[in-house]
Subunit: 143 residues, 2 copies
Amino acid sequence: MTVIFSKKCEYGLQAILYIATHTMGKAVPAEKISQALKIPREFVSKILQDLKASGLVGSVKGKAGGFFLGKEPSQIKLIDIVEAIDGLEMFNSCVLGFPECTPDAPCPVHNKWGILRDQAYQMLKAETLDQLKERTLNKISKL
Amino acid sequence: MTVIFSKKCEYGLQAILYIATHTMGKAVPAEKISQALKIPREFVSKILQDLKASGLVGSVKGKAGGFFLGKEPSQIKLIDIVEAIDGLEMFNSCVLGFPECTPDAPCPVHNKWGILRDQAYQMLKAETLDQLKERTLNKISKL
DNA sequence: CTTTAACCAGACAATTTTATCTGATTTTCA
DNA sequence: TGAAAATCAGATAAAATTGTCTGGTTAAAG
Ligand code: SF4
Ligand code: SF4
């Protein structure tokens, strides 16, 4: 299977986007995220607990508890979630899987892939959650 | 883990590039590929057997046997190997993992990711094995 | 103060991916 | 003809990823 992000990372990205757009001042329970995004509840819960360790989300226990953003929406970028879950290794390794990505021994598609890789990185780094809000709402509302 | 291609696919790409540059008219045994690319022999052998089913490689049994390209190097592109092993699904699905990639409900990074995805596809489709030969040799010789 | 709804920690299970093994067959060559 | 070197098919094993369960703790609300 060809994959960009692990399932965990995809779910993490989706969940954070969901929280950012549906928080209304209150904490969002895992159950709600699970239903909206069709992710198993315990699984998304686990992932958010992991993201908590990175400071990207916070949580409150007990009734009316749930998850919320750990920083201002204007301070969170998609790359932050990717880094927390999958790491940034892919942005520094060979697309063909050759060991070592050195300038004097580039893989055969170096000149093209290197550029794409950087653009992908820039893309994830470019916009903050608040800037993505409108488009996120449009997507999630049609799920 | 973040990944572009599965290990199988990476190994398949590397192995085909190796065969294309080291065939010298004869069949290349899995053992030789295994040593050169540091891929477990039985594993690369399996992968090449799979690629044989797609017509990308051929094989001869017995002593002095091994694998060879199933087509002219000028007729094989990297995308062919990717398609045979991992399929082309990634070039038609959402980078954030949202179900359905529809024009009226694009994911929040649609306008940027869509372009990158197409460029990646074009990259893999652009050059044939013979065109990649020189750069491949340079990479493999420094492994 | 009891019920309820939530997070949380850690074990557990299922699935997929990656890798190895075993034995059979084929071909070359001395 | 027999030993050696290779593919090949299928079973098996190991590892990683994905998903589930159990029981505990916390906090709101009646
Ligand atoms: S293109 Fe160059 S930099 Fe990019 S992955 Fe291949 S070797 Fe590494
Ligand atoms: S950007 Fe649009 S086309 Fe690309 S993956 Fe996201 S939804 Fe699909």
